[in-house]
């Protein structure tokens, strides 16, 4: 069995022109004395001719897309698993700072954007309540919304 495999390898290498001089002498001897070897060689030659002809046919489009996708996915996984170099760390940090700065600039109110009325009303109500309570409930202004405003201020 091992001898047959060795002969198959020699014949394949013979067809590819990859044999040394001693191996070439050995194969020529075999082909001269063995009908089986000659048949094997003919079969190998046909097989190789068939493979070459198939390889020249264009690859079907769906197969090519599938292979490309697998290739990109493999590339992405490979990049994700790869340890980035220090220069990428620096570039990433700079990009993050720029992004955060832009976000803060957009999210925070500008200096002159208007203030909501609610806190002003609450402050006035709170003052109203304070001054009224100090006068012994003289006036009618004991609203719980003023208490809420006061509570928020205390809890802040």
């Amino acid at each position: 069995m091992s001898e047959i495999n060795d002969n198959q390898e020699l014949l394949s290498a013979y067809l590819d022109g990859e044999l040394s001089r001693s191996e070439l002498k050995r194969v020529n001897k075999l082909l001269a004395v063995s009908e089986e070897c000659r048949r094997d060689l003919a079969a190998l030659r046909r097989a190789k001719a068939l493979i070459r002809s198939v390889a020249r046919e264009p690859m079907p489009l769906d197969l090519m897309i599938s292979l490309q996708a697998k290739g990109w996915e493999a590339q992405r996984i490979q990049k994700a698993q790869a340890v980035p170099s220090p220069i990428w760390y620096t570039a990433g940090a700079i990009a993050a700072v720029v992004l955060v700065s832009v976000w803060i600039r957009n999210a925070l109110p500008t200096r002159k954007s208007p203030l909501p009325l609610g806190p002003f009303l609450a402050a006035h109500s709170r003052y109203h309540m304070d001054s009224s309570l100090h006068q012994g409930a003289m006036m009618a202004s004991n609203f719980s919304e003023a208490i809420d405003a006061k509570f928020k201020k205390v809890a802040r």
Partner: protein
Amino acid sequence: MPSLRKWLADPVWLVVLALGAALIGPSPSAGEKGTESEASARLIAAALEGPVSAYKGRMITGRWKGRSSMAAEEVNVYYSPPGSYRYEYLSPSGQTEKVVLLDTARSGIEWIKSGSGDFCEAKNPPLLISPERERRLALLNYRAGAARVDRLLGRAVFVIELTPRIPGKPRQTVWLDKRTHVVLAARRYLEEGGFVELSQFTSFEPCQRIPSAIFEGRQASLMDQMPEGDAGRTMMAEVIRSNPKPLSLPGGFSLRSVDVFEVDNSRVQHFQYTDGLMPLSLFQSERPLELSGDAITKLPDNAVMAEVSGGRIRSWRRKKSHYTLMGDLSPDLIERIAFLVR
């Protein structure tokens, strides 16, 4: 013909002249009226000083918001002399929702509690005027009409009208308990008509004593940031020094206190004025106030006048600061005040 001197020397003419002088002189009713007004002023002064005996009761407070709706609340009130108050604000189901504890004898200290949370200690900004001066301001700025005797909650009360001596401010009516001098009801009327605020007891019961424990907020967990004592006064002096404001304004208003708070990371200074009965707020901020709605009038120099639930607002800009006045004042009076502040 007897001389004029003889005619006048006649005792009969002396009687006639005396009667005439009595007829054209000040009438007894007018003098009585003045006395009654002074008596009313004394009653108001007593009410402002605070009750001398303990009581408990339930009160309704309300304020009209615009001309179509009113916000009203029920409050349980407990009082113990010399100045301890407990206010329990009730939910629609009658449960106590918020509690305010106030000790007027230790001005500026309050305890507040919301829901089932602990009490928080809340310090008010220090006062620039004494309570005595504030009471005098009320009597200087308002004329107390003759007291009318009536009954409320089955008790004898004095009904007193307080009319502002300077036009442009609301007048007020108070129902003062004859025996305890507690204000059982009060209404504040806008100058143009209609009342804007009310408070009225629906039940009232004087007590010999109320347990002191209900006036204590021992479980304080949070503290206000407002510094107290000298630190608070130093902070206030610094605010006033860097942003000088008039100590008094048209309408009889005096600067009572100064507070500082933040809105959207922007510092707002709150100058609090009083005429003894009514608060007036002057805000100074770095950014303008957002006002929208129909009740806005645009004025020259990009100023704006608006009517909101807190009263009337006038807002304007000067140099880098924005100013806002807020109070129940007539447009004319608020304009005069704004002119002085500008």
